[in-house]
C-alpha cells in the first residue's frame, strides 16, 4: 500500500490527521505530511476513510 498526498491540492484541513495522527500531520507549511509510509492490511480501513473524507480529494491510496 502506498499513500500519495497531492500537496498542490491539500489545504491542511487535517481530517486525515484526526483519523490517524500517527500517520498524517499538518505541518507549519499548512499542508499534510506523512509520518510513516509503512502500512499493513490492518491500516487499510483507516487509510481508505482518510481518502474518502479528505475535503479537497488530495489523498490517493494505491495497492
Amino acid at each position: 500500500m502506498r499513500m500519495h498526498i497531492d500537496t498542490d491540492v491539500c489545504t491542511g484541513h487535517g481530517v486525515c490527521e484526526g483519523i490517524r495522527p500517527d500517520v498524517f500531520e499538518v505541518g507549519d507549511d499548512g499542508v499534510v505530511h506523512l509520518l510513516t509510509e509503512e502500512f499493513t492490511e490492518d491500516d487499510r480501513q483507516d487509510l481508505e476513510d482518510a481518502v474518502d473524507q479528505c475535503p479537497t480529494q488530495a489523498l490517493r491510496l494505491e495497492g
Binding site: G12, G14, V15, G18, P21
Partner: protein, 398 residues
C-alpha cells in the same frame, strides 16, 4: 450475491461514498444510484466560495464512465424518488418501482426559504450548482447585494460577493451570528472578519418585505429601513429533504430518525448525510449534522451496514466543519455547548486565534481561525475523551 440490489437515493457526496464503499467492500450485487439533479455527483462547498468569484468549473467527483463501468452503477440522474415502501423493500423513483435488499437514504437537504418571499428576479437561495451559476452571473463590481442570514453559507456568500466587487450588507435576525454553531462569544469573534473586510453586518435585523417590480429593488426591514438591492441571496439554513418519505413509516423528526448504526427502523434501510439524525455514542447526544465530512463518513458506513447488517457498526464521530471567508479559514471540531470557552492562542480581534471549549474536566470542542496545525490534534483528543489539561497542552505545543 445474485438477486441482491443496493439502492442509494441521493447522488451527492454521501450517496457517492456509499456506492464506492459498497464496491470496495466486495459487494457484487446490483447498485442503483438515484439523483434528483441532472448533474453527476459534484462537490458543494466551492459553490459558496471560489465558484462565485470566477470562471471555475464544477468539481465533479467522478465521470460517468467510471461510475457506470468501474463501479458498475445503474445511474439514474434527473430522477427524484417519490415513495418508500419498507414492508415491500421497494422505492418508487421517477414513477418506476425499484426493489432493494439494502437502501441508503441520502437525499440531503434543501435551502430554507424566507416565508413570504415574492417571485422576483434577483432573489436566490444557494444549494445546487444551478443556483450558484445564477448567483455568479448576478454578482459583479458595484452590484448592491443583500445577504439574508449571517450563518456560514451567508457569510461565505458575503465574502465571495465582496471578492467579486459587490457592496454587501448581511442581515441577521439573531443578536449574534453563529451562536448555535460556535456559541455567542466565538460567533461575535468570527463576525469581526466581516467588519475588517468592509461587509456591513446588521444583527437583530428582520426582513419585513422584499420589493420590486419584476426584479428585486429593495429589502425592507421591520424597523422600516429600506435597503436598495440589485441581488438578494437568502442563506437561512437548510431543511432535510424528507418529503418523499412521509407516510412510509420511517420516523421523521427534523430528519430521518436512526439508531447508532444509522438504521432507519426497517431491515436494510440506512440513512446518511444531512438528513440523518442519530445518537452519536461519542457524545451521548442525538445529532444531525450538515457537514461535508459527516456526509462522506456516513455514506460509506451506511452502505457497509446496509450490505452486512449483521456486522453493523455505530457512527461514532467528532463533528468537524470549516468555512472560508476573505481568505481566512475557520475550523471547528466537537460540540459548542460548554461550561467555558477560552482563547488559548492569538487574539479574537485578529485573523488568528484558537479557542477551546470545556465541559467539566474535559475538552468538548475547539475553534481555530487560521490555526490549521492544532485543530485536528484536538479533534483526535476529543474523540478519546481527552482532559482539559491535555487540550491546553496540545494548544501550548502549537
Amino acid at each position: 450475491m445474485p438477486g441482491e440490489r443496493l439502492v442509494v437515493v441521493g447522488a451527492s457526496l454521501a450517496g457517492l461514498r456509499a456506492v464506492e464503499a459498497a464496491r470496495r467492500a466486495g459487494y457484487d450485487g446490483e447498485i442503483t444510484l438515484v439523483g434528483a439533479e441532472e448533474h453527476l455527483p459534484y462537490d458543494r462547498p466551492p459553490l459558496s466560495k471560489e465558484f462565485l468569484t470566477g470562471e471555475v468549473e464544477p468539481n465533479y467527483f467522478r465521470d460517468e464512465e467510471s461510475l457506470r463501468t468501474e463501479l458498475e452503477v445503474d445511474l439514474r440522474l434527473g430522477t427524484a424518488a417519490s415513495e418508500l415502501r419498507p414492508a415491500e423493500r421497494t422505492v418508487v423513483t421517477g414513477g418506476v418501482e425499484l426493489a432493494y435488499t439494502g437502501l441508503v437514504i441520502a437525499t440531503g437537504a434543501r435551502a430554507r426559504e424566507l416565508p413570504g418571499t415574492p417571485a422576483l428576479d434577483g432573489v436566490y437561495t444557494l444549494r445546487e450548482l444551478d443556483d450558484a451559476r445564477r448567483i455568479r452571473a448576478a454578482l459583479g463590481p458595484g452590484v448592491r447585494a443583500v445577504v439574508v442570514g449571517a450563518g456560514f453559507i451567508g457569510s461565505e456568500i458575503a465574502s465571495s460577493a465582496r471578492a467579486a466587487g459587490a457592496e454587501v450588507t448581511v442581515l441577521e435576525a439573531a443578536p449574534v451570528p453563529l451562536a448555535g454553531a460556535v456559541g455567542e462569544q466565538m460567533g461575535a469573534a468570527c463576525a469581526g472578519l466581516h467588519e475588517r473586510n468592509g461587509t456591513d453586518v446588521r444583527c437583530r435585523a428582520t426582513v419585513a418585505a422584499i420589493e420590486g417590480a419584476g426584479a428585486v429593488e429593495s429589502v425592507v426591514l421591520d424597523d422600516g429601513t429600506r435597503l436598495p438591492a440589485d441581488v438578494v441571496i437568502v442563506g437561512i439554513g437548510a431543511v432535510p429533504e424528507t418529503r418523499w418519505l412521509e407516510g412510509s413509516g420511517v420516523i421523521l423528526d427534523d430528519g430521518v430518525v436512526c439508531d447508532e448504526t444509522l438504521n432507519a427502523g426497517f431491515p436494510g434501510v440506512y440513512a446518511a448525510g444531512d438528513l440523518a439524525r442519530w445518537p452519536n455514542p461519542l457524545f451521548g447526544e442525538t445529532m444531525r449534522l450538515e457537514h461535508w465530512t459527516t456526509a462522506a463518513e456516513q455514506g460509506g458506513l451506511a452502505a457497509r451496514n446496509a450490505i452486512h447488517p449483521e456486522q453493523a457498526r455505530p457512527c461514532a464521530t467528532v463533528p468537524y466543519f470549516w468555512s472560508d471567508w476573505y481568505g481566512s479559514r475557520i475550523q471547528f471540531v466537537g460540540v459548542p455547548t460548554a461550561d467555558e470557552v477560552r482563547v488559548v492562542a492569538g487574539d479574537v480581534a485578529s485573523d488568528s486565534f484558537l479557542a477551546l471549549y470545556r465541559r467539566g474536566d474535559h475538552v468538548s470542542g475547539a475553534l481555530g481561525l487560521n490555526q490549521r496545525r492544532p485543530v485536528m490534534k484536538l479533534r483526535a483528543l476529543i474523540g478519546k475523551h481527552g482532559t482539559w489539561q491535555d487540550a491546553l497542552d496540545v494548544a501550548a505545543a502549537g
